[in-house]
Amino acid sequence: EETTNESTQGDSGTTEGTTEENASGKLVIYTGRDENMVQGVIEKFNERYPDIEVEYMTMGAQQILERVRGEKANPQGDFWWGGTQAAMMVAANEDLLLQWDPSFIDAIDPLHKDEQNRWVGEMLLPEVIMINSDVMSPEEGPQDWDDLLDPKWKDEILIRGVLASGTMRTIYSSMIFRQGADDPSKGYEWLKQLDANTKEYTQDPNALYLKLARQEGSISLWNLQDILLKKHTTDYTFDFIYPESGAPILVDAVGIVNNAKNEENAKLFMEFLFDQETMIELSKEYYQIPTRTDIAADAMPDWYKELDLKSLEIDWQVMADKEAEWMEYWDTNIKGKGK
């Protein structure tokens, strides 16, 4: 009851305040993002909208998809924060996401959002080469994708289980794409050689980090943000090498659940999340690379400035069409057969 009291008081106090600031009610967020970050953002959000009661639930992207899918008849979540492009596309195709044009939509590269704006990329994830800096310095490591095939890295490469990971699937597909999408056999050959050097496919990111840290291997392929986060905020000695020929750049996206109970609040949250200020701060603290193209370069943190975000030339449409087929082929014919 107190909350209602306060909010009515607030109402009478700031009669001229925008209706938005008076927004109240609930907001349920399903997120695949780092918990600390989520909490930080929500705190900030609540500073602006004190009457919105935000709940969040941390899950993997796949689990969010399952959940949203199951709840289709009566959605419980409002906002999906953090999902791979693939998961978002599946969800959009199953009609699980709201078609909506936020105010900042034009500032986002069409490559990084859904055609119908059912999902919008929030940040970019370059997929790079990850190393254990205890074992080698970035200079000593493989400098480009093709270097990975060097026999000297035999049994040094650890890979996060490919099929279960949207990230890894994209990396592997782009490797095939890089060798020519029309005839995947060259790509397959390439992957076969990579497989020969691969020591192990790990069950999940944690296992990958642990094994890498414990020097069961020293090289992996992983996304830049996580590497930077580990490098700067934990005791783990990870570092990265940005491949010379460029990296496949994934999108991590957000979306509003179709028929959400608190659709308006979700919209407010999305606007808030894409606020330039928020984005800059997130890139400072959480090494996020914003999708928004209209942020002044000066405002961005140093690590970002040092980075040469060179992208692999990729036709995402082709990738999306072929991925399943390629991955199945890889899974049945290549995986574990390189040796």
Partner: protein, 573 residues
């Protein structure tokens, strides 16, 4: 002293009803109702969906097509991993049960609690401790490497065998619990009879004890077989990716829900076939104790050396079995990232516990899990015991159906179960008293209840099969109503079986993750999800410390139940 007699017969509609041949169907109807509401209703859609499309069998054709053998390969892998898992778990579980039940020595009671602890191994961090133990950079491989100055580690747990080791270590408790309940209830004079006829110890085991344990062995075989079929993390961890669960996962990720439904249906079909074979095997024989009177319990262990051997074996066995737990504790005290290429961690810290104990949000999930686990387990006990009784003691048509329905939620992967529940209960329905369960507190206990249906049911029916029916009759003849008999005679005499199932159900509920993550909400975060969140944030040490808390919690439960069962659940003879 006036002579009193029991309430006798009155010719009312009620007595006419209760005496009817068909009254048994009224008795069992609640069981079927519950199964209908919480198994058939949520799960039939999966089944129907598997036939979706123009060509109704298209998915099945695809599954079995020889062009892409991924599915068949997965089926085969899952199947034989499960079979081997069952065998390994049986060997370990029954052996420990035998050592700890049959020999009395100082410390036996402590060991018999410790040996149960592995079932408390938290699913997410738990499996990782195996890598820390036997993986490529694990304690043992590195230890041997250093000891013998080898270039490479001498061995590392990998592939199928890795999966089987993990399965064995985490699932032998199914066998241990039910087998020790059954050994307690076994009439000792049978063994004596066999030895008097000249049978050696081994033969007594092969011909008398093991066959007499059949109901409990079958119960646990079923449970283990099905969890192994539906196991996800272990195969993934050891790189055996071609399994049924993985295929289901992939289909769902790719948005191919029909195929996922087909795969789920086939998975449960295999499990049900296994169930039917086991049922047939079990029903061929009788396992009820028949001896006249109550046999004398053998009060002596024959030879001293044998006893010492038993003590040593059970000690070593228990130690090996709880190693993963010990490693978990070790990690929880070691500094994140500092344990790299050494055999044992070099830097220790209390930080992880500090982090836990200073965060007020730590305790909420523990309380949540306890609460929800408790509710679900109470439900499981009531349903499981009633169903077991009906199954073993009443005669009615539809027993196989009952058995299958109870089994299905256990045989399917957790994700599939959860997704079905979400779909079924995200709108109002009569089965939920016109409430939306999704998003409410009740969905989690309900999920645990449904998923763990077979646990209490199986272990209780195994115990019941052993119990000589005439003691029930004796009670009835003395005027005890069915309910009184049930309370005073049946329950005390099958207590060890009921308790075994209860423990399994409760511990499983506390640790359940796969389904929980899909249906929890912010106010009902269960312990497993809380651990996952720590892990997700890569606070590895803290996650392990959290896991240790969970283990301690379960240990307390185990100790309490040991106290409870002491004395009363002596024997079911």
């Amino acid at each position: 002293m006036s002579k009193k007699s029991v309430d006798t017969y009155e010719a009312s509609w009620w007595s006419r009803l209760t005496q009817s041949r068909y009254f048994v169907y009224i008795l069992i109807s609640p069981l079927f109702l519950i199964l209908f509401a919480y198994v058939i209703y949520p799960f039939y859609s999966t089944f129907i969906q598997s036939f979706a499309g123009d060509n109704q069998l298209a998915n099945y054709q695809k599954f079995f097509s020889l062009e892409s053998t991924a599915n068949l390969e997965a089926l085969w892998n899952s199947f034989y991993i499960s079979i081997i898992s069952v065998i390994c778990c049986a060997v370990v579980g029954v052996m420990m049960a035998f050592l700890l039940e049959r020999y009395d020595f100082p410390g036996r009671r402590l060991l018999s609690i410790l040996v149960l602890v592995p079932m408390a191994l938290p699913p997410l961090v738990g499996v990782l401790s195996f890598t820390f133990l036997y993986g490529e950079s694990g304690i043992f491989p590195r230890l041997f490497q250093q000891m013998f100055q080898l270039e490479d580690v001498p061995f590392a747990l990998k592939g199928i065998w890795g999966v089987i080791v993990v399965h064995t270590f985490t699932m032998y408790t199914y066998f241990y619990l039910t087998a020790s309940a059954a050994i307690k209830g076994l009439d000792p004079s049978l063994e004596e009879a066999a030895t008097s006829l000249g049978a050696s110890r081994i033969r007594v085991w092969r011909k008398i004890i093991l066959p007499m344990l059949t109901p409990s062995l079958i119960a646990s075989s079923l449970l283990v077989f099905m969890v192994s079929m539906a196991s996800y993390t272990a195969p993934l961890m050891f790189g055996v990716e071609r399994t049924m669960t993985m295929q289901i996962y992939l289909s769902r990720t790719n948005g191919n829900l029909d195929m996922a439904a087909t795969q789920s249906t086939i998975l449960s079909f295999v499990s049900i076939t296994f169930l039917l074979i086991m049922r047939w095997y079990q029903n061929r024989r009788n396992y009820q104790n028949l001896s006249k009177g109550i046999s004398v319990h053998r009060s002596e262990v024959s030879s001293k050396p044998l006893k010492y051997l038993a003590v040593t074996l059970s000690f070593i066995g228990t130690l090996i079995l709880i190693l993963p737990i010990l490693v978990l504790i070790l990690i929880s005290f070691s500094k994140d990232g500092a344990w790299t290429i050494q055999i044992l961690p070099t830097e220790y810290t209390l930080d992880h516990y500090k982090a836990l104990f200073t965060d007020e949000r730590t305790w909420r999930p523990i309380w949540n899990s306890l609460q929800m686990g408790f509710i679900a387990t109470v439900g499981n006990i009531i349903f499981g015991v009633a169903a077991a009784y009906a199954m073993v003691r009443l005669s009615f048509k539809g027993k196989t159906a009952l058995d299958i329905l109870i089994t299905i939620p256990w045989a399917l992967p957790g994700t599939v179960v959860a997704v079905n529940l979400i779909a079924a209960f995200s709108t109002e329905s009569v089965f939920t008293f016109n409430q939306v369960l999704i998003g409410s507190f009740w969905i989690l206990p309900l999920a645990y209840f449904i998923r763990h249906l077979p646990l209490v049911f199986r272990s209780t029916s195994a115990s019941l099969m052993q119990l000589d029916q005439s003691v029930e009759e004796a009670s009835r003849s003395l005027g005890a109503s069915w309910w009184y008999t049930f309370r005073r005679i049946v329950i005390p005499l099958t207590l060890s079986g009921v308790l075994a199932g209860t423990l399994l159900a409760f511990v499983q509920s506390i640790g359940e993750f796969v389904a929980s993550i899909l249906i929890y909400n912010t106010s009902t975060i269960p312990l497993s999800v809380a651990i996952f969140q720590k892990l997700y944030a890569f606070k590895f040490g803290t996650a392990c410390a959290y896991g240790v808390l969970q283990i301690i919690l379960i240990l307390i439960v185990l100790i309490i139940s040991e106290r409870l069962s002491k004395g009363s659940a002596g024997s079911a003879i």
